[in-house]
Symmetry: D2
Subunit: 390 residues, 4 copies
């Protein structure tokens, strides 16, 4: 082992957490639970884990939850927990997209902080209503655009904000997967079924599932505002009801141009989220599958490889790193950072203290932008790729 | 050293070659000369190397040409060489784009084979006229889309033709450089000056200089026909008269979709030509900067890295490889392959023998398509990115 | 998000855990705590976290431990916890090496399971005594050779056991770092001070700190038995008292040969643990800094890249993976796997059930081998690199 | 195409070249011919290409040589060519190792420059005699340690000479191949047969064939003097008469330590020559299979990737580069650089001019060192890996 490590934050009482969705067979629920646990700032004590009371109870038992705190519906859970003296302070919503809005509403209106999976909702109308509810609520709303938790993503954002790249010109982002290359939804695979079902996912397939992540990442790192887009969407797999591939051209308000490609039918790509940004003075390249590295290419100088907690990495990355450079942190650590940022925000709120400016988490506004992005992609594609404003 | 090598082809007499352009300070002329020399099938014996007789003579002396065979203009050269008993049999035209048409015409009409740099001409009207001339001439016309000479590009083409990827869905190609990140043309850098000058280059900047290579590569490897495109072109550097960045969406006649990005303002990219192709059954990825490798990703199987002359490489790649796997061949070797293919075709023509089907070289038709691509990009961009048919 | 995920194991009561060492400023203590937490099988409830009662108490408060369960010495802790009805069931020992033996003894003799950092002890005599104690105790002894928890390390081990490489010939392993390139110990850096102090570390510097990991990894993956070694050790930094670089040649009982290089003075290497194994039928290559990949090179076939939870990965890797391929798992996850394996073993012991054969964790025997390796390296180097038997 | 290119050197008359060995089926002969041709400084006009007059004549015809200048033996060739007014000025010797000495002698003593493949001879006694002959001759002796021709190898050498790494500590070099994983020599493969035959190759197998390259590369780049070595050689393939794998520890006179691994039985390695050098201030890493890159890792700064003709590359690399960065040069170009350096030296000699100090080529001294290295490896291995002085 190598260098002086980073200590856990000084202890505060753990935040009492509930979960909606995430029962047996779900993938993302388990991810949220590991993420909540890693930095030891949350206690999962309650859940409405499945769509039926029986399954929910069974999943609760598996997770060691008190049966009295396992509910058959998120509504019951919200009502009951809000009344308990030691009720949950925050809830993670990890259901398919179409449930996000109504579930979040029940908790927000009772002052329970919401940590919600993305995309925010299955349509823009719901997204806007949810934003209104969140803005009016005392509770916080945290959207788990988890890729913003990667230290080298924070590093890239800090460098661009510092002007290291000069005025930005080109932003290319892509998110390629291959798991829907064949018609997995026709074999009943749970993840494939709901993600290709407009009723559960909304108007976007790959655009909603992963395109929103790509768009969010580009926005988060560059700080640019997407002004309009032109999209060409396809459903290459016969019978598929939502897009499984999208090519999108981007125009940013600040004058930069870009491209976004998302695909779930690109064999050989597991989770290929990549961002490349070029400005007048240099470039940056980051890839999610090897996330501890960031290429920095100042024009006219040798390419530099900045590593997490290595030489050249700045304060923003160091703040969210746990272990020394060369000891890779991964997807769960980045996800856990979103939870830790949420905990810091929740505790500041509770204690009436000022939140450290360095704390960053995606909000309901990012969620609205993401759903607007999906609907703009769909609209543009229907209009033969015409430019659509956001 | 490792395995049994590849012998040079059985000797035929070297082909007598002339060159138009390529005098002192030119880059691509030297490349053509090395490419012509490597496989020992040509003898450079004549030239009209520069735009003035004095410079041409000086350049000829530097290259050791017979002063009697060094000309002040390509027209004089064509007239005189055509009359000589041992006159040139072929000519390489390596001038800026706007000279290609008229120079090629002089040689074609005298039955001298033309090996011409790309893009074919500086506008589509000239390109079509040149095609007519080439079609009517007994002489061959070879366009040096040199990237088609890379063994692993041939390998990719062969695999797709064999159906290894199934029906194609997505074709993403890009060509990124950074040498025009700043206004090099304003400092008088020769290469930058003519390449950013519409009078010498034509309507396209990066689209003409490198976008045509990207488009040609995608077409060559996939065998698909580009049906229409939607383009967003920019000149990011103040004062630049031609595009230095282009995002282009592609629709192929066979149903595949794609995108093409070319840029000369992407810091950190030296000569980043990359192709990715995905079909129903698998994918392929190739990058020019490490050209001896080809990723092959059959769906549902581990990724495979095929190497030049290594296991898994087929006949098309082996045919144009010179040395064992692990001994990298590069840009000049690929370029030399275009010359060797040209020599095989010229000799077959001369000898009245049937040309081996395996011999491949880009033709005037590819040239016309390239110029049409440039003009379509410019037209689409002027129409706010509307789809333009090719 | 992509494919069907992996559910947490069905709940059993969490194992009550204590910790010796790991107070403020320690690195590896925090790593153990995160690792213990990730899979939710342990509750840290007690500690003797520092060498003085005051510091221990302060560190306990920071971690939210009950002050009544925070002790000034590991001996007090062992005595007291052994008497409590809800006393700790297991203890993590994360002190400098020279403390391992005595601390472990106190817990082992009271039937408390020990999870101990490596190297096992600071000298071979202690290591052998500790092995005797562990063998005689009812308690389990788990050594945190954490790199054996990486899924692709398990994959490599499984493939070799399956005979995919045929009889092994060459085993090259290396572990390169750069954090001791300068005399960090002279600036008081805590990690550097004790790791370069023979009294705390033992006879080996880089050989003990990281060479043991490299040796363990090679042994774990190949299943080979190291028969003898020849070593050349150096302390390149003036004033350094232990080796900071070692070149070691290896001979295995089964006929394979190898080399091991460990260095803490190799600029540009953060945590460069790499293993390459070659047999009659193929090879494997793995690198810790990008741990989700494994190169498999069957002789005469294209190279294959196997990814964690991707195509080609087998049962041993899948068993210890948490999330889909392309979502990188890192150092903490691998470390957590050691803890989860320990939990499975502890629970099986407690419940009197048969432990699943797939469960693997490093034991006191591996620890003895590691210390023997260090002492053999030192002995060989003193004898001018003569071969020393293990 | 990108930036201003490099012009060919101003013309001098081509040097008249002959070749010994390199007939049909030989690999390295064709490589030498391409290398001699690329930069246009040699004319191949004569040959004794095979061991029998008939084969030699046939090979000469294939290459288009004048039959009168094709000889049945190198001795006839030397005698005859030395008498001709336009006889060869230089000869390339590309036979199996055991012929080098006697062939070279015939030409050296007649004042014909010798360009000889490595290793210099099949035993040290011959090597020393050859050195004496070369020293006494007016003719030059150039040994084709071709890897020293790579621009980034020159770059590494220049940086170390400049002190960019400070005092050197660790030098690790390896050369791994897999083409002898099975008993290819028993199937009659020509390259395998002679390379595994002590009578033709000398005492070393992989050590002679590729270990000498690795040793030469390490010496060339670092400028260090190898003082002693300890080696463990194996012939893993049953029936093989020479080593096919060697692990070697290195001690340099200047205090640095190192390891050399060469293997021809490492599946997945095609031509894996890699060098890593670490000093007090930084490190360098270079790999032959992607030779246009050089990693430079100054301690405490981000890793930098220097590219051929890119930012950060210095004069030594630029001098031997032909084309812009990003346009890969490969093995043949590096080999051609040795020929071009030889031509510069030969012409300087002929013209009585002072040779530019920047011109570098391997000499008979490097050849003697290489053969001494092989014999030291064999001797050490026979003495159970004892240290042997060089």
């Amino acid at each position: 082992m190598a260098i002086e490590g980073k200590q856990e934050a000084a202890r505060e009482r753990r935040i009492r957490l509930g979960m909606v969705g995430g029962g047996s067979g779900a993938f993302i629920g388990a991810v949220h639970r590991m993420a909540a646990r890693l930095d030891d700032r949350f206690d999962l004590i309650s859940g409405a884990l499945s769509s039926t009371p029986e399954k929910s109870a069974a999943s609760g038992r598996e997770l060691g939850l008190d049966p009295a705190r396992t509910y058959g519906s998120y509504k019951d859970m919200a009502i009951r927990e809000a009344r308990l003296k030691d009720g949950i302070e925050a809830v993670s919503i990890v259901t398919p997209n179409h449930v996000h809005f109504e579930a979040a509403r029940e908790f927000l209106k009772r002052g329970i902080h919401v940590i919600c999976d993305k995309p925010l909702t299955s349509n823009l109308a719901d997204a806007k209503k949810l934003k209104k509810l969140a803005d009016e609520s005392d509770a916080l709303f945290i959207l788990t655009h988890n890729y913003t938790g990667y230290p080298m993503v924070r590093q890239a954002r800090e460098m661009i904000a510092n002007g290291d790249l000069g005025k930005l010109r080109v932003v290319n982002v892509e998110y390629a997967q291959d798991w829907l290359t064949e018609a997995a939804e026709q074999t009943g695979a749970k993840q494939a079924v709901w993600r290709t079902d407009p009723a559960q996912s909304g108007a976007g397939g790959s655009t909603g599932d992963i395109g929103t992540h790509a768009y969010n990442l580009a926005s988060f790192v560059t700080g640019l505002t997407l002004e309009s887009l032109a999209a060409d969407l396809d459903s290459f797999v016969p019978g598929r009801r939502l897009d499984d591939n999208a090519h999108v051209m981007l125009r940013f308000a600040e004058g930069a141009k870009g491209m976004l490609w998302c695909s779930q039918v690109a064999p050989g790509n597991e989770n290929g989220l990549k961002l490349r940004v070029y400005g007048e003075k240099g470039g940056l390249e980051w890839s999610q599958e090897n996330p501890n590295l960031l290429w920095y290419t100042p024009f006219g100088e040798p390419k530099r490889l900045i590593t997490r907690n290595g030489a050249g990495a700045g304060a923003a990355a160091a703040r969210v790193s746990r272990i020394p450079g060369g000891h890779p942190e991964g997807y769960l650590e980045a996800f856990a950072t979103i939870y830790s940022e949420a905990a810091l925000a929740i505790n500041a709120k509770k204690n009436g203290t000022k939140l450290d400016k360095a704390v960053i988490y995606p909000t309901v506004d990012d969620g609205v932008k993401g759903v607007a992005f999906v609907e703009a992609c769909v609209a543009s594609s229907k209009k033969n790729g015409a430019w659509v404003k956001l």
